[in-house]
């Protein structure tokens, strides 16, 4: 692995990585049963540099911003490196957002260049706000021959001969703007520095090292801070290989484990639970005698790995299961949302360590991670090297808000000084999550102080981001809340969004109104939908500028409305 303490910026480290392991494979891209791309570090460099040169010739300079809206694929990483070679700032956007949301974040980030895929670009060009797009250069991948690209260039053709100039950056310079939310409300664009990433990468690879020959399966979207780190920067500065799948169907993911003998992968709880469901149903289909033997072998494996994982022993005891995971899997990382301990234990007992972690985009991604020595399903692990955590205002059970201080904490939120000042206080990042440390120094999480939910798919949903979907609803006023925010509970999981409705004076909830509410709700992506609504008997408190005082309203509702009053949608 490269010694990252010697580097000032990601571009420098990656540039050296491309020269250090020229013949190692850095990227494999597979679509269904067909391998589409296999690039060595040297191939990667040969593809990225002409792109970087073409960007520079088009006027892209150090400090300029370039957005990427793509599914996980090789061109994502090649584009990102080309931007970093030019000293640019990356703006990775979630490809699952709507075209309107993409345009809003492109405007907010002031991206000068946009890299995207043809089907996404087609949607963007058809959005009402398309004319507002200010990006000067748009590069579209995989456009069919003869397709109308509307002001854009084909990514594949956008290259120039001649060595591009390498622009070095300082550690404190911006490396990226990563949006943790804000498609409807105030955008939360986390400005992450080169130092944030270099420090994070050093700490993570100490715990889970990569080396040439390691194969990381990239399933989480690369715009997500976790995949950007462990599915790009981490493997590249160690000469490892990243495997991309263009089709994320469960059966193709399962095949990839075997075909590419995957070493690590990171996933969200929803995917891990899906894997668990599949395995459990296979176990249930076994004849009674074989099931009895399997259960005994699992129990023996649990006993032999109670202090730390012994992957070799587990592979001997449960060979078929390990072969199904490719036979080389060392660990799966799970995070982004609450994970039930029973699922973690299920995999650990099979000899497949699942390292549970906790982090925020605002802290570059990971703050704590389980080292599995011993395995603990009930915690999110210990702080990474260089991360200080403390519990603010602990209650009788030592539970309080988790605050973090580390070189991995973001610089600020883009164009939001007030929000930054509320979030980073005296150098401490206030996470809004409630937790406590156990005697062995592991962090346990108990709930959320902030008004938001995290889905099983790892998406942060802020109520204010979806309120505009209900604009014009025939009520006097409404406000969306996370249920945990108004009716605090100890425990994570089963998080829901609900709407508080104040009807017009004398009005009643009609079936027509309820249908309108339900229809608008259905039009939202499934992970953003409301679970129910309830009626509030008095006007909402508002500020002088007529904004709803959410915190005060939430507290009032918590005291006066029973959770049972929520009508399911």
């Amino acid at each position: 692995m490269l010694d990252l303490t010697k580097y000032q910026c990601l571009g420098e480290a990656l540039r050296d990585a491309l020269d250090r392991w020229p013949n190692e494979v850095c990227l494999i891209e597979s679509d269904r049963d067909t391998e589409r791309t296999r690039l060595t570090y040297s191939d990667f460099k040969e593809t990225a540099l002409p792109l970087a040169r073409a960007l520079q010739d088009a006027g892209f300079q150090a400090g300029d911003r370039a957005a990427i809206i793509m599914t996980n694929q090789s061109k994502w990483l090649i584009s990102a490196y080309a931007v970093m070679h030019c000293g640019g700032v990356l703006v990775p956007l979630d490809y699952k957002l709507s075209a309107g949301e993409h345009l809003a974040l492109l405007a907010h980030s002031q991206a000068k260049v946009l890299f995207t895929e043809f089907h996404l670009w087609r949607a963007i060009t058809q959005a009402p706000a398309f004319e507002s797009l200010a990006a000067e250069t748009v590069l579209v991948t995989e456009a069919p021959g003869g397709a109308a690209l509307v002001k854009a260039f084909r990514w594949e053709d956008f290259r120039r001969k001649g060595a591009p100039e390498f622009s070095s950056r300082r550690r404190e310079d911006w490396a990226s703007i990563v949006y943790s939310s804000g498609t409807g409300g105030q955008p939360k664009g986390c400005v992450l520095t080169h130092e944030n990433y270099l420090e994070q990468c050093t700490a993570l690879t100490k715990l889970y090292p990569f080396w040439p020959g390691v194969r990381y399966l990239s399933i989480l979207p690369t715009n997500h801070a976790v995949d950007f780190m462990v599915g790009f920067i981490g493997p590249f500065v160690c000469g490892a290989t990243v495997v991309h799948l263009r089709t994320l169907r469960p059966e193709f993911v399962r095949d990839a484990f075997v075909r590419y003998r995957i070493t690590y992968l990171a996933l969200v709880p929803m995917v891990l639970k899906n894997l668990e469901r599949g395995l459990r149903s296979k176990f249930d289909e076994l004849p009674q005698a074989r099931r009895w033997i399997l259960d005994r072998l699992i129990a023996l494996n649990r006993l032999l790995t109670r202090h730390r994982p012994h992957v070799g022993i587990s592979r001997l005891l449960l060979p078929k299961i390990h072969r199904a995971f490719g036979g080389s899997l060392k660990a799966m990382f799970v995070g982004g949302a609450f994970m039930e301990p029973s699922t973690l234990q299920f995999f650990y007992d099979l000899g497949v360590p699942v390292s549970n972690g906790y982090g925020l985009t605002e802290a570059s991604t990971v703050l704590t991670l389980n080292d599995c020595k011993p395995f603990r399903a009930d915690t999110v692990g210990k702080p990474l090297a260089g991360v200080e955590l403390r519990i603010l205002n602990p209650d009788d059970e030592n539970i309080g808000e988790v605050a973090a201080r580390s070189k991995t904490v973001m610089s600020h939120y883009l164009s939001a000084p007030e929000l930054t000042a509320e979030t980073i206080v005296d150098g401490w990042l206030l996470t809004g999550d409630l937790g406590r440390f156990d005697p062995s120094g592991h962090l346990q999480l108990f709930g959320r102080k902030k008004n938001m939910i995290v889905t099983e798919g790892g998406k942060n949903i802020y109520p204010e981001d979806i309120e505009n979907a209900f604009d014009g609803l025939l009520v006097k006023e409404y406000c969306i809340f996370a249920t945990n925010f108004i009716w605090p509970k100890i425990g994570l999981g089963d998080e829901e969004l609900v709407m508080a409705i104040r009807l017009e004076p004398g009005a009643e909830m009609t079936s027509m109104l309820e249908e309108d509410l339900a229809a608008r709700n259905r039009r939202l992506p499934d992970f953003k939908r409301l679970d129910g609504y309830f009626i509030v008997g008095k006007d909402f408190p508002r500020t002088a500028s007529m904004k709803i005082k959410r915190i005060q309203l939430g507290e009032e509702i918590g005291k006066t409305v029973d959770r049972a009053a929520v009508v399911p949608l």
């Binding site: 089709t247 169907r249 499934d526």
Partner: protein, 80 residues
């Protein structure tokens, strides 16, 4: 080539069988996440089954934003 109504009917029948929901409880404009009680991964599984049934290939991105059977059937019909 089947009509869109026939395709839609086959989609509903296949979805009902796959997720063990009575066929009569599903209708074309229903939200399949809600009616079948499935998550986005299970929706991808349904997509694979539909591909095998209709002998078409549907890119994952075609499912983005699709949540009702009628739209799903129209995506398949366009490829038949």
């Amino acid at each position: 080539m089947p009509t869109i109504d026939q395709t839609l009917d086959e989609v509903l029948t296949l979805a009902a069988a796959r997720f063990k929901v009575p066929r009569e409880k599903l209708s074309p404009d229903d939200d399949f996440f809600q009616n079948l009680g499935i998550d986005s991964l299970q929706a991808l599984d349904l997509l694979t089954r539909l591909e095998n049934h209709f002998h078409v290939e549907l890119p994952d991105y075609e499912m983005q934003g699709v949540s009702d059977f009628r739209t799903l059937a129209s995506k398949i019909q366009a490829r038949l």
